[in-house]
Amino acid sequence: MSAPVKAEARSRPAPSRPAGHPRPRRHLFDTKISPYAYISPFFLLFFAFGLFPLAYTAWVSLYDWNLLSSEQTFVGLDNYTELLADEYFWNAAFNTLSIGVLSAVPQLLFALWLAHLLNRPLRAQTFFRVTLLLPNVTSVVAVVVIFSQLFGREFGLINMTLDAFGLGRIDWQAGTATSHAAIATMIIWRWTGYNALIYLAAMQAVPRELYEAATLDGASTFRQLVSITIPMIRPTIIFTVIVSTIGSMQVIAEPMLFGAQVSAGAMATGGADRQFQTLALYLYEQGFRSYEFGYASAAAWVMFLLVVIVVGINFLLVRRMRGSLDS
């Protein structure tokens, strides 16, 4: 009985406060300044370790800057002209684009379809969701180790299966197309479930009545997917397209470790003929194998530009995607 009274007395310092001062002094600091204090850890650390390095890259890219030499000479845009004439750079750009298209397009289409299947009353809903996300919990390194075994030339499960059907073995790492397909498979396996869940979340926000009306009008579930679901969740689709585009421009661990299986030790070239060296891996080779920091920084900035261009193109393409619910 006495406890609440005591608590109330403690939490009300008003009687001791002089009349005419409705707010204690702490309030000024509290309302005006403390919010900035609360968000400052994020912004300070992000500027120091995220944004500043990115901007400083532009500065370094104007120098002939090698970690192993003590002097850095200003060379202007020489790194850029050299880079644009470098056939290995363009090879890496082609590989990145090819792996990006091969992984992102099937991945997102497949995720959309899976989310569509999951977006209905189902038994074992949780089981399916957890299992679909399992690949995403697996680390990139683990994924490549596992799939390198599956895609192995001699004892790989996939080649053994092909052999059993009389189709002949494939040396997956040797060819451009086959190695790209293998790497794209790893990316698709790891990310489809994640994207499916994001689509599913968006689909659950679509009003049920739309589907009920469509069902009464005799629209098939596929028709409903195309005419109702996709137009309604278009913002989410744009979001996933952008995120997967940025992701595919940064693919590095897959080619690096897939390459490690080809020639132990030399991991940075992406295959003997650079057949699956991506841009990020090229950046790594220049920066952390040759220690050409200036040159690698130029590559990073050109990559950044490419990311912006490709994201922009994709954004425009997806925004133009026609939907029957559009006005």
Partner: protein, 286 residues
């Protein structure tokens, strides 16, 4: 009219029954392909290399699992790597949870000049490919003499734009503004309210964010590879050393994979529904 209605509902009922077996079959097949590579890694890790050359290959786990795991610990500094990864992922997780909740509270419930612009900045930074700043970041680590130490892996990841966004979203819905105002009236400081009122309410979302952050930090590979040495690695770096050996020893590599992955997979199998809830929650406004 009634007739049309009737046939439509019959057709709908028929379709919902007919669609089901096929839906379940498809989803089961997809679940199988999702889980199989992980299962396969355990199968390979529990045999010796000669068993893998058999046609057909073994499809059930064998008895060599612990022998192979022991070889993993002999070949690479896995004990140290596990310790390092727990330290790295643990401190990043605690820091991201704390700073995200703090900033999320400010963005969701406090009024200050420039709040909207700063929040837009947070969302924009989620899109910035910071990986491209890796060379100056490495130069910074040399200056700070952090290369080869866990500081280099921990400090740049102490905050996360996604985390701030996620907690802002959650707290603007879950934290009643009246509760904060009542606290002020009672003479509590905002800082005191953060600890006594905001944190308890933020706990479920912070836990989800913590699990996601721990997974990301545990699985991070590229930056630790660049900045650490083979003698003092994280789990993923040590695992890549195993995989890049001069001899293709798949049982060794996949036993390492199992050691590095299975703890996380088990935790995920237990807490997965909460993590999925978090991912789906974070996605809605995305």
């Amino acid at each position: 009219m009634t007739n049309r209605h009737f046939t439509a509902s019959v057709r709908r009922a028929w379709r919902s029954i007919a669609a089901r077996p096929l839906t379940y079959l498809t989803l089961t097949a997809v679940a199988f392909f999702s889980a199989f590579p992980i299962y396969w890694s355990v199968v390979v890790a529990s045999h010796d290399n000669s068993a893998l050359a058999q046609v057909p290959p073994p499809l059930l786990p064998g008895g060599n699992f612990f022998a192979n795991v022991a070889r993993v610990f002999d070949t690479a500094p896995f004990q140290l790597a596990l310790l390092n990864s727990v330290l790295v992922a643990g401190s990043i997780t605690i820091s991201v949870m704390l700073f995200s909740t703090l900033a999320g509270f400010a963005f969701a419930k406090l009024r200050f000049r420039g709040r909207n612009a700063l929040l837009v900045l947070v969302i924009a930074t989620m899109m910035v490919p910071t990986q491209l700043g890796i060379i100056p970041l490495y130069m910074m680590m040399i200056k700070l003499e952090w290369t080869g130490t866990m500081y280099a892996v921990i400090v740049p990841s102490l905050v996360s734009a996604f985390g701030v966004f996620f907690m802002t979203q959650y707290l603007s819905r879950a934290l009643p503004t009246e509760l904060i105002e009542a606290g002020w009236v009672d003479g509590a400081s905002t800082w005191g309210l953060f600890w006594r009122v905001v944190l308890p309410i933020a706990r479920p979302a912070a836990a989800v964010l913590g699990m996601l952050t721990f997974m990301t930090a545990w699985n991070d590979y590229f930056w630790p590879l660049v900045v650490l040495t083979p003698e003092n690695p994280t789990v993923q770096v040590a695992l890549s050393q195993l995989a890049a050996g001069y001899v293709q020893d798949f049982t060794l590599g996949l036993a390492g994979t199992a050691v590095a992955t299975l703890p996380l997979v088990l935790v995920f199998a237990l807490l997965g529904r909460h993590i999925i809830g978090g991912i789906m929650q974070g996605a809605v406004k995305g």
